[in-house]
Amino acid sequence: MHGASVELVQVSKRYGPAVAVDAINLRIPEGAYCCLLGPSGCGKTTTLRMIAGHEIVTDGDVLIGPREVGHLPPAARGTAMMFQSYALFPHLNLLDNVAFGPRMRGVDKAARQKKAREMLALVRMEALAHRLPAQLSGGQQQRVALARALVTEPSVLLLDEPLSALDPFLRIQVRAELKRLQSELGITFIHVTHSQEEAMALSDLVVVMNNGRIEQAGTPREVFSRPDTAFVARFIGGHNVIVLPGGKAMAVRVDRMRLLPEASPTTPLSLGARVETVEYQGSFVQLRLRPLDPALGTTELFAVVPDDAFAARPFAVGDAVTARWEAGDAHPLRDAQPPALVPALEEPTP
C-alpha cells in the first residue's frame, strides 16, 4: 500500500439553494494524516463523501494523486471509507465482511480469505473471524470496519467520525491505534471529527471548517498558536477573542493572560476586569473574567494560572484585576466575528 495526495479545487456542493460546501481549495500531501474539523453542519462530512465518491460534486475538481476522479465511482478512486456506524454487513461473519470487497471484484475464494485473514490480524481480530458483527463490542466492530476498508489496499482511507461511537477510554486507545496503522501503512488518512482534541492528537494537517468554508488549514501547532479567525480561535479552544473598541480583533491564549491586582483602563495589551468564577483544576486554576470597559461588550474572558502562581497570589470572586498579555501573544484575527455564541473555552489546554 502507498499513499496518494488529495487535492480539492474550487469544490462546491449545493442541494438546491442550500450550499453545503462552498468552493473550497485544499491540498493534502500523500501519506498525511488530515483531520477535517468543525461543528456539525459545517460541510466536513459532505467534503469527505465527495472525496469518497458517495456525493457528486456540484462544481470543481477532486484529484487523487494525479488523476481527476470526479466522475469515477468510489471503488475506482483508490479510496476506502470507514462509516460512522461502521456499516458491517449483519448477515456476514467477520471474515466474509472483510472479504466482501475482493469478492465483489472477482478474487477467488482462497486468495480473498487469505487476504481477509491478514487484515483481521492487522487489527488483531483474527481470533473472532467467524463471529457475526452483532456479537462484537463497539470497539471490535470498529476494528473490523477498519480491516474491511483496508483490504482493498486503498491509497486514501476516509474515516467518518470513527471514534464518536466509542466510550472516552476506548476512544483514546483506538486513536493511538489509528495513528500507529497510518504510520505503518503510509497511506493518506482523512478523518472527519468535531473534537479538536482528537484532531490535535492525530493530525499532520488540521482543516477547520465552518459554514461550508475552510477557515484555516495547517499543522495543529500552527492552527492552535496562530488562529486566523475568531471562529477558529473559539472552536479550537484555549483562546480569548478580544475585540478592541477600534474594531481590531485578536486572539490571546488563556494561559498567556497575566493577572495583576487592581483594574486599569483598556489598552491594546491589557484590560480591566472583574473575577466572576474561580475554578481549581489541579495543575492550574481557571478564572472567568468580565471586562469592566463597556466598550468591550459582554465578552467573557478566561485566564488560566498555574496552581503555584495562583497560590502565591490568589484572587477571589468579585476582585477587580488587570489582565495583561505580551504583544507577541496577541494574534490579529482576519475577521471580527460577533463574540461568544460558542463558549470561548470548553476544554482548556494549559
Partner: protein, 309 residues
C-alpha cells in the same frame, strides 16, 4: 440489625406480591384474545380433526375413530401410479397455482418494495404510494375478481384493443376462465401481502450498508444479490407464508376466474361439504393443513424468523 433485616424481608415480600399481581394482570390482559382464539380457531380445528375420523355411510354420520375418510380421499392413488389419481392431480394443480402465484407476487412485491424503500426519498411520497397499493382492498374480493371479466372476456377491452391494433385476428380465449386468469387474479389480490413484509425488512436496512457495498466495489446487482436480498429474507419468508397458505386453501378465486372448470383442493373440499360428506371433507382439510404446515416449516428452516423479528 434485626430492624434492618425485617425491613429487607418486608420489601422483598412486597416486591414478590407486586410481581404476582403483575403476572395476574398479564393473564387477564391476554384472556380476551386467548378466548377468541380458543373459540374460533382451536375448537373448530379439533372438531375438524375429530370429524375426519368419523364413520359414514350414505345417510348416517356417527362418531368413531377410523380411517375410512382418509382411505376414500386417497382411493386408488397408490395402485394407479404412475398415472395420477384425482386427489394427487388436484393437489398437484393447486401446488402449481401456488408456486406460480408465489413466484409472480415475489417478483412484483420485491420490485415494488424495492422501489418504495430505495428510490422514493421523501417519506410523505412513500406513504402516499404505499396507500395507493392498498386501493384494491377498498372493494371486496369478489368484486375485484369480477372486475376482470369485462377486461379479459372474449369481447373485453384487452381483446378489442389487441384486435384494433392488429396484433391478433380473433379474440384470445385464454385470457379469461383459464389458468392465466386464475394466476392473474391471485397476483392482483395477494401481491400486497408479499410486498408489505418485504418493504418492512427493507426499511430496516441501514442505508450506509448500501454505500459500504458500493464503496467495496459492488455493482448495483451485486449489492442487490449480496446485501439487500439476504437482509430481506425474513420479509420474503413471511410474505411467502401469507401467499402460499392463502392460495393453497383458495376455492373462490379458482372457481370464479377459472370459470368453475379448474380443480383445486379448496374447491374439492367445498364440493364435498355441499354434498354433506363431512368426514371426507374434514380428512381432505387435515391433509391440506398438514401440507401447508410442512411448507411453512420448510420456509422457516431457511430463515429463523423469530430471531429476525
Amino acid at each position: 440489625m434485626m430492624d434492618g433485616m425485617a425491613r429487607v424481608s418486608d420489601t422483598t415480600g412486597k416486591d414478590a406480591r407486586a410481581m404476582r399481581r403483575g403476572r395476574g394482570t398479564a393473564y387477564w390482559q391476554a384472556a380476551p384474545f386467548a378466548l377468541l382464539f380458543l373459540v374460533f380457531f382451536i375448537v373448530p380445528l379439533v372438531l375438524t380433526v375429530a370429524v375426519s375420523f368419523w364413520r359414514f355411510d350414505d345417510y348416517v354420520l356417527s362418531p368413531d375413530l377410523n380411517l375410512d375418510a382418509y382411505r376414500e380421499v386417497f382411493e386408488g392413488c397408490i395402485d394407479k401410479l404412475p398415472s395420477l389419481c384425482v386427489t394427487f392431480a388436484t393437489y398437484l394443480s393447486t401446488l402449481r397455482f401456488a408456486l406460480m402465484a408465489w413466484a409472480a407476487t415475489l417478483v412484483l412485491g420485491f420490485g415494488i418494495a424495492y422501489f418504495l424503500a430505495f428510490h422514493v426519498r421523501s417519506v410523505p411520497v412513500q406513504m402516499a404510494l404505499f396507500l395507493l397499493c392498498t386501493v384494491p382492498f377498498w372493494t371486496s374480493n369478489i368484486i375485484r375478481m369480477v372486475a376482470w371479466v369485462p377486461l379479459l372476456g372474449r369481447n373485453g377491452l384487452v381483446n378489442q384493443g389487441l384486435q384494433a391494433v392488429g396484433l391478433t385476428t380473433g379474440p384470445l380465449d385464454w385470457l379469461l376462465y383459464s389458468q392465466f386468469s386464475v394466476v392473474l387474479a391471485f397476483v392482483h389480490l395477494y401481491t400486497l401481502f408479499m410486498m408489505v413484509p418485504i418493504f418492512n425488512s427493507m426499511a430496516r436496512i441501514d442505508r450506509s450498508l448500501i454505500e459500504a457495498a458500493r464503496d467495496a466495489g459492488a455493482s448495483g446487482w451485486q449489492t442487490l444479490w449480496n446485501v439487500v436480498i439476504p437482509l430481506c429474507k425474513p420479509g420474503i419468508v413471511i410474505g411467502s407464508i401469507f401467499v402460499l397458505t392463502i392460495v393453497m386453501g383458495d376455492f373462490v378465486t379458482v372457481g370464479i376466474m377459472g370459470g368453475q372448470q379448474i380443480a383445486s383442493i379448496g374447491k374439492v373440499i367445498q364440493v364435498q361439504m355441499s354434498y354433506l360428506q363431512f368426514p371426507i371433507a374434514a380428512a381432505n382439510a387435515v391433509v391440506l393443513l398438514g401440507i401447508v404446515l410442512l411448507m411453512i416449516w420448510a420456509l422457516t428452516r431457511l430463515v429463523d424468523i423469530r430471531r429476525e423479528l
